[in-house]
């Protein structure tokens, strides 16, 4: 049973990633191109550091314009983008199906399609939206090479915190829920979640690395496109996996 759900989850993630790639090609890539244009026009007269080609914190070598040609822009936008999103989609789709396998019938008695969609919406909020409040997505040209390790750790820490806080809140909610008073328990769980996340956001290091003259509209458009890409991915996972899970469960029943 879990085997069938796992590979369907990965498949739903891959399907979502392909649709998300189409969305990203239409809405996000133009913003990335603009950001790279900004970067190139600035690295020409700035210190040789603000370059897309370099991300090694301790590399010590100055970035050169030629470095970018290691992988052409066309490959980055095509095969590179689709590979990155498909790997990510398969990974999160697989994990999603495992959480579904554990939660189905344990977290309430929703139908498989409803449960899958609810779980996908919840994951989107916990993994994408909430961490992005503290560490929003950044286009090329934003961010210093020296801090990439710290920022990566902080970003994963923020995601883990959001998920952990949700688990704690859900545990407390179900421990306190009384018949007919589920509403109050849910509210209390929400407050606990927000309190834990707020505390973590306060304690985690601040990142403030947007160049002062980086276009604000471009930053906004990139972030909207980035969240939109994730929304396409998670909506597809929730809907496609729900359909497939319903079929798996019906087959197993008969």
């Amino acid at each position: 049973m879990t085997k069938d759900l796992l590979w369907r989850g990965m498949l739903a993630g891959i399907l979502g990633a392909l649709l998300a790639t189409l969305f990203a090609r239409g809405f996000a890539e133009p913003q990335i191109d603009l950001a790279i244009g900004y970067e190139e026009s600035h690295s020409a007269h700035d210190a040789p550091s603000g370059h897309a080609g370099m991300a090694m914190p301790h590399a010590g070598t100055p970035a050169e314009p030629q470095e970018e040609e290691l992988v052409s822009r066309d490959t980055q936008k095509g095969a590179g983008l689709v590979t990155a999103l498909v790997l990510y989609g398969a990974a999160v789709g697989g994990i999603f199906s495992l959480v579904f396998a554990y939660g189905y019938g344990r977290m309430g008695h929703l139908g498989p399609r409803s449960f899958a969609l609810m779980l996908a919406a919840l994951t989107f909020a916990l993994v994408v939206l909430v961490p992005a409040i503290k560490y929003p997505q950044t286009p090329p040209a934003v961010g210093k090479h020296e801090t990439v390790a710290l920022r990566t750790a902080a970003y994963f820490g923020m995601i883990a915190l959001s998920l952990g806080a949700a688990v704690v809140a859900a545990r407390i909610r179900s421990a306190l829920a009384r018949p007919g008073r589920g509403f109050d328990a849910t509210l209390l769980g929400l407050v606990i979640y927000l309190g834990l996340v707020g505390l973590g956001q306060f304690l985690l290091p601040a990142v403030n690395e947007v160049p002062t003259d980086f276009p604000a509209v471009l930053l906004w458009n990139f972030r909207v496109a980035s969240i939109g890409t994730q929304l396409v991915l998670w909506a597809t996972i929730g809907l496609a996996f729900g359909l497939w899970a319903e079929r798996v469960l019906q087959k197993a029943k008969s």
């Binding site: 990965m10 990335i32 090694m56 290691l70 936008k77 990155a84 929003p136 890409t229």
Partner: protein, 75 residues
């Protein structure tokens, strides 16, 4: 669950007589799925960024756009 009964009205399907999938059935696949996911996500998010298993910048540059879009610090 008022909303779920009104809008999302697909019925709960029992799992092979029980209410949920037994943990013994989930555990081995959870190990496999998590392992695969960690490897995939590592290469999309972190390789040749915060850490490097391989020399050079090829992986970083190849997944460059996806890494930015998914919110991972790229450079």
């Amino acid at each position: 669950m008022a909303v779920s009964t009104a809008v999302f009205d697909d019925a709960f399907i029992p799992v092979q007589g029980g209410n949920a999938i037994p943990l013994e059935d989930i555990a081995p696949w959870a190990v496999l799925g998590t392992l695969l996911a960690v490897i995939f996500i590592y290469f999309v998010s972190t390789e040749q960024g915060a850490f490097s298993l391989f020399q050079g910048m090829y992986v970083h540059e190849f997944v460059h756009d996806g890494r930015h879009l998914l919110g991972f610090p790229c450079h």
